[in-house]
Each structure stands twice: as C-alpha cells, then as structure tokens.
C-alpha cells in the first residue's frame, strides 16, 4: 500500500496542467497582441514611447508590425482626417480575425479639439472600437493599462466564437 498520495493536479506533482482550450488559446492571444504601427499624430509619439525601452511593450508580447496582415490590434493614435478615413477602413479590413481596435486620445475618440470640416468626429464612425483611451495625448502608462484591459477582454471571450463580422460601428 502506498505510503503517500500523489496529487497529480496539484502544483509540483507531475508536469501536468488541466485547463480548457479556451484558456490556452486566449492565453496565447492575450499575450501576443501584435499591434499595427498606426501613429497618425502626436499620440503616435506616445505610442512609440510605449514601445521603446522605458515602457517596453515587448514584455506584454505587444510587438508593432508594419503590415496589417500580421497585426491583430490597431491602435488609432491621433487625428483621423476625412481624407484618410477610407484608408483606415481598408487597413482594418486587411487585418485578420480576431482583431481589436484601441482608440487612443481625444482626437481619435471624438475628433477632440478639431471640431472642423476635415476631421472625422471619432473613429467609431468608420471602424468598431473596443477601447477608448482618454487624454491629449494619453501617457504611455495609459496605453499600457489599455492593453492590459484589452488582454482581460480577450481572456473573457470564447476562443472558438464564430468568426462573424463585427458590427458596422
């Protein structure tokens, strides 16, 4: 008779972890959010600072990609002009599912101080937005927090959800 009991499910028992597919997939997704390099205005500078060594986005697995086909997060960092609106939509459509959008800063959220004929009054008129970051411009800490909130959102979702198209806006 065994003198001790091995609890296989406990840490340090055997190198076995029981979990669900959802959790594994979402763990992967939420920790490798590749973002599209999309600095449109001064918020882009803060986004670059977030990616650089001091704030270091790489430790979240967030790596800026120059191609929408390799990206799953679009950080709209800056003022979106009406002339550019069709291109943001085209880039968004080129990103592969699943994809998320962070609207960074006042201009991207609502048009900000540019209450004029040439500025889109909020990027959510063109593409669906998951997260709005307030600020003009938001500090890198805000963007970091935003990415962490997005990670939480991704982990809450079902990994195998149907790839239905998102709402228009």
């Amino acid at each position: 008779m065994a003198q001790h009991q091995v609890n296989y499910l406990k840490d340090g028992g055997l190198p076995v972890a029981l979990t669900t597919i959802d959790k594994v997939v979402n763990w992967g997704r939420s920790n490798s959010i590749w973002a599209l390099t999309y600095g449109l205005a001064c918020c882009g500078i803060e986004m670059m600072a977030s990616g650089a060594s001091r704030y270091d986005f790489d430790r979240f697995g967030t790596i800026f990609r120059a191609s929408p086909r390799q990206a799953e997060l679009m950080v709209v960092a800056g003022t979106l002009t009406k002339k550019h609106a069709e291109f943001i939509r085209r880039l968004y459509d080129q990103m592969t599912e699943p994809k998320w959008v962070i609207s960074m800063g006042s201009c991207a959220n609502t048009g900000g101080m540019f209450n004029t004929y040439a500025t889109v009054q909020g990027v959510d008129r063109v593409i669906p937005v998951d997260l709005y970051l307030p600020g003009c411009a938001p500090r890198p800490e805000t963007l970091q927090y935003g990415v962490m909130l997005l990670q939480q959102k991704i982990r809450r979702e079902s990994a195998s959800r149907a790839q239905k198209p998102k709402r228009l806006m």
């Binding site: 972890a17 979990t19 959790k23 594994v24 979402n26 763990w27 920790n31 009406k82 002339k83 609106a85 069709e86 939509r89 609502t110 048009g111 900000g112 101080m113 209450n115 004029t116 004929y117 040439a118 889109v120 009054q121 909020g122 008129r125 063109v126 709005y132 927090y145 962490m148 939480q152 982990r155 228009l168 806006m169």
Partner: protein, 268 residues
C-alpha cells in the same frame, strides 16, 4: 408690443457688440519716401497699369490689373531682382465686393526689400499661373484652387492639394461653414459605407461637452465600467481598478513582493 425674438440660442450669439469699434488700420505712406521702391514702381508703371501703390510696414504694396499678373511678376523677377516668391494666396471678399483678392509676396535678396503685388478677380474668373517663373507658385496655386476655387490657367497639374480629389466645396471661403456642409459631414460615411448607411451611423456629435451619464453606448464612468449598452438607470456596480483577474491568469504568476529577494551586495 415688442417684436418676439427667439431666446433658445441666445448663448450662441455674442452678447455684446461695440457699435463704435473701428477696425485698426495699418498706416500707409507714400512710395516716394523710399528711393528703392520708387525706382521699382517707376519700372513697373512704365510697362503696366498700376491702380494703387503705397508703403505699409516697410513693404510696398502694388495693386495691378489681374490680366497683368504674369507680366508684372516676370518683370520683377528678371529686371528688378525680386528673386523669391515667398507667398501667394487669395482673400475672400465675395460678400462685400464679389471678388477675390490675389496677392503675391515677393522678396529681393539683393535689395533686402519686399513687395506685395495685389490684384482682384471675379468669382468665376481665372488667373494666369506663375509656376513657370517660380516653382513655389506650383503648390501655392494648387492650394489656392483647393481652398478658394480660384481656377489657374496654364498650371502644369491643376488638382486639389490638401482636400480629397472628390471633395465638394472650397473650405476657406467665408461662406463655407467651419464644421462643414452636408457633403463634408457625411463624407467618410458616404464614401466607405454608402449613403444608405447614414441612418445606421447617425449624424456627427458636434457638441464636445455633451455627456449623458446613463448612455453606456458612448460614455463610461471610471470605476463604474459596465459592458457597452447596459442599462444603468438603476445604479451601477463599483468596479475596482484591477490589472489582472482576481483568480489569476493561466500560466501567469502574479509578482509577490514578499517572496522576492532584494540583492544588497552588488559585488556578488
């Protein structure tokens, strides 16, 4: 009985107007005060009709006929040593005179003098391009066309420079509303989704101060975040600021300051 005036938009109007305010005028002096300018003006007058000429803020202003614009600038460039066209644009006087004022700001590096050449054209009138004399006129004239709708003759690439090619209207005209006409307000929706999507997307919110506390489609309250579209008219839950879920994340360990070791001897 006093005539009724609607009071609902009273905040949008200036509540005080000074009837006795006179716009300050920059003092004008005679051209004969400056020998260099006087000689230049004589050279221009010898070949072209000059409607008006004076000195303002140490610069000579010469008003000419619009049909002479190429000749005058060519003369100034080739014979009077005004070798730089530093600025060129239009001013909208359509409301008061029905005309555009076109100005050309010239600089002479050798004489260290500046001359502003002005002329007036009608709304539908076009004007000769200067881009064969000065390369800087190329983009400036395109911008003038883009913003005011002044058509340029003999321009090598007459096309809008800032606004999209399919834009309607000329934004710097005084009659153009700052927040755009109907075409501008629906431009991106019409172009991307088509006109039938206007109803789904809705008009632009042009009031930057608008806050609706109970509208969870558009507004979130920090510390009280709820999913989009939740009804919070009966109160909303407190949501403490968390960076990770309470019960931890799969394969990710939280940093525990208690268990960490502070290395004190740096030489180790």
């Amino acid at each position: 009985m006093r005539a009724y005036t609607p009071k609902d938009d009273v905040q949008k109007k200036p509540y005080y107007t000074d009837r006795y305010w006179v716009a300050p005028q920059v003092a004008k002096s005679d051209v004969s005060e400056d020998a260099v300018f006087a000689a230049d003006l004589e050279a221009i007058k010898a070949k072209f009709e000059v409607l008006d000429a004076y000195i303002q803020v140490k610069q000579m202003v010469v008003v000419i006929n619009a049909r002479d614009n190429f000749g005058v600038i060519e003369l100034m460039k080739n014979e009077l040593e005004y070798n730089q066209l530093s600025e060129l644009s239009a001013i909208d006087w359509l409301a008061s005179e029905g005309k555009f004022e076109i100005f050309y700001q010239m600089l002479s590096m050798s004489k260290r003098k500046r001359i502003r050449v002005k002329c007036k054209i009608d709304e539908k009138e076009s004007i000769q391009s200067l881009s064969s004399l000065f390369r800087s006129a190329d983009w400036s004239e395109r911008e003038m066309y883009d913003m005011f709708g002044v058509v340029i003759n003999n321009h090598p690439f007459m096309k809008r420079i800032l606004m999209p090619d399919d834009w309607e209207g000329f934004p710097l005209r005084k009659t153009y509303p700052l927040q755009g006409d109907e075409f501008a307000q629906w431009y991106e929706v019409d172009k991307i989704f088509g006109k039938e999507a206007r109803e789904i997307i809705g008009p632009e919110n042009r009031d930057p101060a608008r806050v609706d506390r109970y509208d969870t489609e558009r507004f979130a309250r920090l510390g009280h975040e709820v999913p989009r579209g939740t009804d919070i008219s009966q109160g909303e839950p407190d949501t403490p600021l968390v960076y990770q879920e309470e019960d931890g994340v799969f394969l990710i360990q939280k940093f525990d300051a208690e268990k960490s070791v502070v290395i004190s001897d740096r030489d180790r």
